[in-house]
Symmetry: C2
Subunit: 162 residues, 2 copies
Amino acid sequence: MPQKKTTPPDATPAGRLVEARLHHVLGYQLAQATIATTVVYMNEVGEPFELRPVEYTILSLINENPDGSSAQLAQALAVTAPNITMWIDKLEGRGLVQRTRNETDKRAQHLRLTPKGTALVVQATEKLLVGEREALSHLSDGERTILIELLHKVARNRPGKK
Amino acid sequence: MPQKKTTPPDATPAGRLVEARLHHVLGYQLAQATIATTVVYMNEVGEPFELRPVEYTILSLINENPDGSSAQLAQALAVTAPNITMWIDKLEGRGLVQRTRNETDKRAQHLRLTPKGTALVVQATEKLLVGEREALSHLSDGERTILIELLHKVARNRPGKK
DNA sequence: TATTGTTATACTCTATAACTATA
DNA sequence: TATAGTTATAGAGTATAACAATA
């Protein structure tokens, strides 16, 4: 396999491929960074807790927004309603989430974590934060903070679907 | 639907859900930001060119690394080899990519864009850059640059799979 | 034996449409 | 009529295993 000895200035982390124009495409850099955080997630939370990324996020959002609706979750995660139903089914089946009927509007429902679910989320989040901090030790605290805030700023004015 | 009128300081862009601890999980912020860039991608490139994100990235990487191998692509994109084969099949079928036999190592192959493929990538990238710039107009030039560089830094020392 | 790339196949995840029960 | 949530179903995407050809 022909492989240059000298690594060019712009290279993908693992593939050693030049990425001149692509470098400035935010979506591409997000995808590349996500590969790194996904590895951390799988090692720290995904495999040990048998929890998919979506499941973890759903649990976290329910935890921090008790009695929210599944419609809110669907919008926050940009997934369809049937999808949310399926995931909540799974999480409820594992005794992590509880559905309760909304008494003022009987179509809707409140979502809440069980004590087991709460314990799991807290533990998972701690492991994640520690794991990410280790994996990103080549970034300073300031850089990590700025990165988080800039990403949040990008996400905040999320455009409409079209 | 019970909905607070005042938006809390930390909220998901669309779902208006609080995200206190989750806020500091990089993987979560990456996913949220990706929702925003995906909308831009689909509008600017995905739908008009009928090109999936992976396909666009593959074309871009081939364009900027002529005669690279599919094994390199697989590693750069963190996808499996059979997957790459499938995508290259599709792209070759559309006359965008060309496979050529490596004469020194007959197992391997060189990947190259056709003129049609090159034209498409260039055009798509321009549209993407403009579209992202518009969608992210609430970020300054400096902020966008910093964001890109920090993401690149995260991706650069991507950890191994385990 | 190891590696590049492919084929075959099954599985996960997601999306669309149609349904229910409330409003 | 419209909305919250569900069910049913099909499709997209991905991974694993087994294989062929070459090193």
